[in-house]
Amino acid sequence: MDWIAGMWAVFRKDLRVELRTRYALNSLLLFVLGSLLLVLFAVGPQPLTARVQSALLWIVMLFAASIGLGRSFVAEQEQGTVLLLQLNTRPSMVFAGKLLFNLLTVGLLTGLAAGAFLFLLNVEVPAPGLLGLALALGAVGLAGATTLLAALVARAARKGPLLPVLLLPLLIPLLVAGTSATRKALAGLPWIQAQDELLTLIGFAGATISASVVLFDYIWHE
């Protein structure tokens, strides 16, 4: 009970800070809408293949996530609130709270990006369930990988470009499986054909989150 209360407190603190500064929210909104409008103007009324559509959607999601999510731990470091958190909470509470907050952010981002993408490009989805599941699993994996790396990067001297650099190679399995599953959903293939991709996405999300649970204590106390 205690643990859940602590996690919830960290989550609510992050949410409140975010709603006051709107750092991640504004940058995500700007990036998603800006890049989608750019795609829209560049492509025009031409119909795109499912392969190109899924690639575009995941490019928008990846870069929006790497811009918006790195903030959480860096802000603690810059404002000097790290010690306070270290004194008052256990590391796992901090991690779970931050993960929850990042999940919310990525969920929002994915919903926004996918919704705007499908609406603006006028894409019809033959398999909406598969698309939703692929994007949801991708979002969990994205949040899991970003949370741990953001905690690592916050300790480094030059924080700005470090997170995307570290994140990209780690995310290759997620991106390959995610784009492939999205392509299959947009092409209207049956679920069974996307089984490999979905299992890969589950494996990626589970592996990054359980690795974070093991490793976070060491990162946090160092």
């Binding site: 399995p173 390959v176 499986a177 299992l199 890969t200 494996g203 589970g206 359980s210 649970v213 093991v214």
Partner: protein
């Protein structure tokens, strides 16, 4: 604390296994003829040359055609708008790049995978024993 690490490691290994088992099939890049027909776009198909089916080069149209058996055992005709690649007969594997066109595969490139003359351990041994027995002793330093 300790239990958390152990459980975490077990979960990590399990999920990583799941990831690795299912990821391999997506990155290999090679397809069989059936998948190539499904995608309808460019594909790499790996297989072997079927020697006992007609293999010919049409000089007037500049089309080389042969039959190829992919990894699942499906045999399809391959048409290639160029002369026969060098070393085609020695190939242990053929990779064709192109797309399915009806029942035949229209290849734009053919990669011929020949057995390497440098990695053949048995052949090397044989050569080495031959050359050492026949090599003149004087003036040869072998290091």
């Amino acid at each position: 604390m300790k239990w958390k690490s152990i459980l975490g490691l077990i979960a990590m290994a399990g999920f990583a296994g799941l990831l690795l088992m299912n990821f391999g099939s997506q990155v290999s890049g090679y397809m069989n003829f059936e998948q190539a027909a499904d995608t309808g776009s460019k594909a790499h198909v790996v297989g072997t040359w079927v020697e006992n089916r007609p293999t010919r080069y049409d000089r007037s149209q500049n089309v080389f055609s042969f039959y190829m058996k992919d990894q699942t055992g499906t045999v399809r005709k391959v048409r290639y708008p160029s002369p026969k690649p060098a070393n085609f007969e020695q190939a242990e594997k053929v990779v064709v790049e192109g797309q399915m066109n009806g029942e035949a595969f229209a290849a734009s490139h053919i990669l011929v995978k020949c057995p390497s003359k440098y990695n053949d351990a048995k052949g090397l041994e044989k050569q080495a024993t031959q050359s050492s027995s026949s090599a003149p002793q004087a003036g040869l330093r072998t290091e």
